[in-house]
Subunit: 393 residues, 2 copies
């Protein structure tokens, strides 16, 4: 007799459902399709030789390799946390290594922060649309959602946590202006809301001037990271490689201490070998690596913006990101992104329908286009096909 | 003004407290102390050369290294799941790769199973004492605890999940007999309880005959893994290395599908590079590797059992494990393991006081001794010192 598993799952287990996007990406990954669907960096631009060498060096040294393959502390490999302390200091965040936790990708930082802060039914503020992974990460805590505007409007606000991706957000590519950042921080103080800042794309800027992180701005106001209400997550996935699954959290020690315990309960620690090798990679990686990424991805962004201007019919609008990996397209009302995708696949182009990026009140006449994976010529071909299709809709 | 973080933490966040043992292990890790405290394999016995070579091979092939460093599917690397399918079949578990999820250590498998099954207040059955990591992993679900006896006694039972480590359990080293295994399975059916089987140590047997896993026994009774109520977790931490953080879950597809979603929400996937390298390691590892581990650890077990017999005063008893890494010691009533540790450190010996391994009703006159890290001579010296100390208590 088959077991009725649904009846045995927890409320969280029952409600966890497959992400439309991730299911979609599996079927789109086939030859002949120009895919703007993924959100992934170009493997041709990975610092593979340096990563291979760093692993070789760890194995060459008996004492290091023994430690690399052994259990280690949940907090993370101290030299990697030291490197990150210096990296954060260069970004205006004065912190110590006890303010830093290494995570299995920044997804884990977001997930654990949700577990640390949210009880069932607590309100979380996000952009609309927002990063799909945060909706998945917080799903187990059954939050209610609101928008980031709630921090800055004149209304009362019952939110406990606000999630923001200030630079080149996934999925829109848009950034928060300096004055808006300051307003968000002021609002979080006035309304007593914790901020979870996701800095995943912050180093991939192709034009315009860098802006301080929400954490750096909060430190200007409160003076010390121990007084800050910002929990910051970073990742090596966009600037080094995603496959090694290493990210980090920066926050007050009171927060990091608890996150260490939650991480220990969930996976003990992140691979020691990976952390050791990555420490060598980031220490030896030339400044020119990020510049090279920005040059390549910037040219792809330009190619896509140019092709959109050339091929999209009137009534279609899109964002003009200064960095990151995505452009967000608004279609005329009545065109459904998911329906359009079905037709687009017939002409050999793929993207992600925008609806999935909304916690609620979905706008279905939207698309997310990724420009980091295809070369400029392919981007032009794909956008031309897509433009023709939309013109006919 | 400092933020009152405690007031902002979730109930789970508030209740998460540092593990006594893990805090203890940090201070015990100093030169000159003979430590029976950790629960870690001997790095001198790691197949380091093979692991180094496997990483080198991945990097030598451009297409493989690109994939190794890129995002990949949450389910895990298919060739590693294929290898595990064959490994499980050799243990009497007929399953397909869709019944297998790769996890970031088996700790993650336990954690995610807790999230999948347990609502706050649900009852979980464990051995007493039990693996500390399971108490941490389930902590976020605020379960009530009961003992495994509840599956087989004549009473009614409101438990949802039973956690069992049938072979050489941490912390006692004891195994569940074949008839007891059958009784547990029958009880789980009769009382409609899901079983989480932790097979962490199952391949480290030094004497006696191998016994079928609870999953294999359940399959004999229900016929197909799709009908089984056992969720099985395994790990490469004890037989290969722990530092790479790779484990797996085997269960009905209905369970694995949900666990994949929960894993995706928590860390997207386990390092692709690590999974690829490990696939080569396990494929090429000679049978003699496990035999070599068993020979070494078996000799250390024998040395410790012999020394206990020689040096412990009357009134002290201990388990006689057929495998694994631990011996459990019962002291005369009135001797407190934690107090004894303070004195033992003075004479250069460390262990873990047993109290921490009980979800409730702690027995403080107990110790956990690890025998996998020290050589036989050191074990003899350490147990002699410990015996003298207890004789004086």
């Amino acid at each position: 007799m088959a077991i009725d598993w649904e009846a045995r799952f927890s409320s969280y287990g029952k409600h966890a459902t497959a992400s439309e996007i991730r299911e979609l990406l599996k079927v789109l990954d086939r030859p002949g399709i120009i895919s703007f669907a993924g959100g992934i960096p170009d493997p041709a631009l990975f610092p593979t030789a340096l990563i291979a060498e760093a692993h070789r060096h760890v194995f060459e040294d008996g004492a290091r390799s023994g430690a690399a393959l052994q259990y280690s502390v949940s907090e993370g490999f101290p030299p990697l946390r030291q490197w990150l302390r210096d990296y954060m200091r260069a970004k205006g965040v004065n912190c110590g290594i006890d303010n830093i936790l290494i995570t299995t990708g920044s997804q884990q930082g977001i997930y654990l922060t949700g577990r640390l802060i949210l009880n069932s039914g607590d309100r979380v503020l996000t952009a609309r649309p927002t990063y799909l992974g945060v909706l998945q990460a917080f799903g187990g805590n059954s939050p209610r959602y609101g928008t980031l505007d709630a921090l800055t409007d004149g209304e009362a606000c019952d939110a406990k946590l606000a999630y923001a991706m200030p630079d080149f957000a996934n999925p829109t590519g848009e950034s928060i202006s300096l004055s808006e950042r300051k307003a968000l921080i002021a609002g979080a103080h006035a309304k007593d809301v914790i901020i979870l800042e996701d800095a995943a794309y912050c180093d991939l800027r192709y034009s315009g001037e860098p802006r301080p992180s929400l954490l750096a701005l909060d430190l200007e106001s409160v003076g010390s990271i121990e007084e800050s209400r910002v929990i910051y997550t970073g990742t090596f996935s966009k600037t080094i490689v995603p496959g090694l699954r290493v990210g980090w959290v920066v926050a007050a020690k009171a927060v990091i201490k608890k996150l260490v315990l939650l991480k220990q309960a969930s996976d003990l620690h992140t691979s020691t070998l990976t952390q050791m090798a990555l420490t060598e990679v980031v220490s030896r990686l030339p400044q020119s690596h990020i510049a090279m990424l920005c040059e390549n991805y910037g040219a792809r962004r330009d190619a896509m913006l140019d092709a959109l201007k050339r091929h999209m019919p009137p009534g279609v609008s899109w964002t003009k990101p200064e960095g990151g990996m995505f452009i967000w397209v608004n279609l005329p009302a009545g065109i459904d992104g998911a329906q359009l995708l079905a037709e687009a696949i017939q002409v050999g182009v793929a993207f992600v329908p925008g609806g999935a990026f909304f916690p609620d009140h979905r706008q279905h006449n939207t698309l997310r286009l990724n420009f980091s994976l295809c070369d400029p010529e392919t981007i032009r071909t794909g956008i031309e096909r897509l433009g023709k299709l939309i013109s006919r809709s």
